[in-house]
Amino acid sequence: MADASGLVGLTIAEMRDGLEKREFSGVDLAQAHIEAAEAARPLNAYITETARTALDRAFFSDTRRAQGPVGPMSGIPIAVKDLFCTRDVLTTAGSHILDGFTPTYESTVTTNLAHAGAVMIGKTNLDEFAMGSSNMTSHYGPVENPWRRSGDNRPLVPGGSSGGSAALVAARAVPGAIGTDTGGSIRQPASFCGVVGMKPTYGRCSRWGIVAFASSLDQAGPFARTVRDCAILLGAMAGHDPKDSTSVDIAVPDYEAALSGDIKGLRVGIPAEYRVEGMADEIETLWGNGIAWLNEAGAETVEISLPHTKYALPTYYIVAPAEASSNLARYDGVKYGLRVTGDDLADQYGKTRAAGFGAEVKRRVMIGTYVLSAGYYDAYYLRAQRIRTLIARDFHRAFEKVDVILTPTTPSPAFAMGEKMDDPVAMYLNDVFTVPSSLAGLPAISVPAGLSGDGLPLGLHLIAKAFDEETLFRAADVLEQAAGFDAQPAFVAGRP
């Protein structure tokens, strides 16, 4: 490591242990990661850096530690997707329409993290309103993936929508970050950037204070470079919140304690329907490796069927835009953000929203408006909600026979900026393996498991039963150990 402190590049668990042994302080960690944020600026992954608050919080964490025991996240630097409202810190959702929005309140998840002592280094770039799989739709410009294809210097996308969070963790600019996942927005960028990304069960983390995209799907989750670190991070994020009626009132287990390394007898489902037509050989091979690794560790693989898989993506592209069109109705130039003056109120709404939303957001708002409009509601929206029931039922039936399900995370590795931009449907296909579990509200994780032929990371995806994050982490930890993924991206913060 080129950073003078030697602290950048440590895992969360290593930082926690080092802090405990007083090998370094929280302020040392904050300082090193503020410098790492500066070094990582070419990636355009932070929208706002919060160096001053980071130092204050780190100092506070050190003071607390001197007084007595503190939690595992105390003093650990993290990055926060700019979809979480943060008190007195600009919150953009990657959109022009939220220009200058500085919340007067703090989201529950970031409040939980602050109480746990975590130190926010900055707010990360994302697709506008979390709508995208490339990070190309941000008003603040695209994020660069720190990886490059071998022998090819063209910039690649980090995936999306939580692209900034994934890129920063991959570039070692921060040991962990948080994002949100509606149809794959944590797992797909994690796969593209070679890091671990996890979406908990719907209801595990509070959605309060997260800028809403599709409320029946949105869920916060962690990014880190190891499964263990994700387990530690989720433990500090999760929990019941009376302010979110969909957050579930059940105890948060010690996720790290679930990493026993023992998966003997674990039943791993392999869904036939995920062998999609035209799947690249390298993805097929990666999946086969995953099956072999879990078998060698004593798991038992079971062929399963999830018959409605192919309908998940089109179902998602009704449900999510419908909810988005309703959620985004609040951006009207009256309460916050951008206002474009018009002749009258209706004209002001139309002009403000036209100027404030980007092309992809407009497309989805219009699709959502259409499928909810009189005469089309039953044919589109209600039908999609029925098919969503069928998709969830497929999983329930499968989980009578298996404990986890193993699939690839994405059908391809990261693509270059500018590729797949002409055809929205081609872009949507990125999420073909992640959307079904989102529609069913299930916890799922992407673990880096290998490199593509051109040297890019590829992820394997595990799905578990609702609220069984412990089994998910346990299986993912074994998968991670077996894969032994230790490749590093071309760009590492602070390395010349």
Partner: protein
Amino acid sequence: MPLDTATVARIAKLARLDIPESDLEPLAGELSNILSWIEQLNEVDVEGVEPMTSVVDVTLPMRDDEVTDGGHADDIVGNAPETTDNFFVVPKVIE
């Protein structure tokens, strides 16, 4: 069913999006592509299937109908483009 420009203009109006005339044609094409891809859902037999209302098996919690918070008018209007005396200001609606 492909969307025509009149339908796109109607959706844009419902969504309060001021779309210039020249953009209606390309938008109609894009939205029609997405909708025709979605049409495959018509193959699925949904007879007797309940539409999903909650993805996890929980009952919506109830609480007593009482004031738990309030008195933050300054915070609420704090980000508004224009306010007067803690009211949001909009162009005149009633002539």
